[in-house]
């Protein structure tokens, strides 16, 4: 999908709605190391705003990019610290 990031792991939350994309992203990020990039694949259109809000309000993560691709919403979240 994206060639700009070295995606460490992909989280599939397709078919799931609020609050699952955010909650599962948080859990997946917890299992990664600093510098890792998580790709989150969602079908919930609200995840565009929610992942952005979560990443903006949470320490140790950075939202690199969000892509709306047909009916899929793909988010790239980097774990920047602990």
């Amino acid at each position: 999908m994206s060639s700009e990031y070295q995606t460490t792991e992909t989280l599939d939350v397709t078919g799931q709605s609020c609050p699952m994309p955010v909650v599962k992203t948080k859990q997946a990020i917890d299992d990664l190391e600093a510098g890792d990039v998580l790709e989150v694949v969602a079908t919930d259109s609200g995840s565009m705003s929610d992942i952005q809000g979560w990443a903006g309000g949470t320490d140790g993560v950075a939202l690199l990019e969000q892509v709306a691709d047909d009916d899929r919403y793909i988010h790239y979240v980097e774990k920047t610290g602990e």
Binding site: Q16, C18, P19, V23, Q27, G57
Partner: protein
Amino acid sequence: MSTEHSPPSTDDADLEFDPAELQALRERVAALEETAADGDDGTKMTIVATQGSFDMAYPPLILASTAAAFGWDVVVFHTFWGLDILHEEKSADLKLSAVGNPNMPIPNAIAALPGMDTVATRLMQKRIDDNGTATIEELIDLSLESGVDLQACQMTIELMDYDEDDFYDGVTTGVGAATALQHMADSDIQLFV
């Protein structure tokens, strides 16, 4: 790096500050920062959940599990009908009320007939399944896993003649209004549902 949101250069600004005044302001800011950092760090939220209908069980659990994903310290104090959300047996059988619900496409006179609450609940359950919305049990598990303190009001446990063992593992019992108020006083966000 990126200078998209870089602050305006101070070189161009009108530097008409009195150095003494500036110094006093700096000290004031430092003092305030220390006060703000004193004691609690991090955001706290307290939700009081008083409703035990199928639809009203969702908002507190969704907000609590999401807040935990932000790393917030979250307490949900369940009292009166809200207690049923944490009750293992009752939680699986929460009902949507067909009567007095203006969102129901049927008149109250018909909604009051026996079995209509079950019908309304089944319809809602189907929508929830179709939409990929989490179940109440999933949200409770997620909340507990992520460190949300789900509290069951002791007075209501006794009032409803429940047993402390009736609740999901991990639920805090033996707490009352004072415990809830104490956390509310420390919280940045307090919600009553």
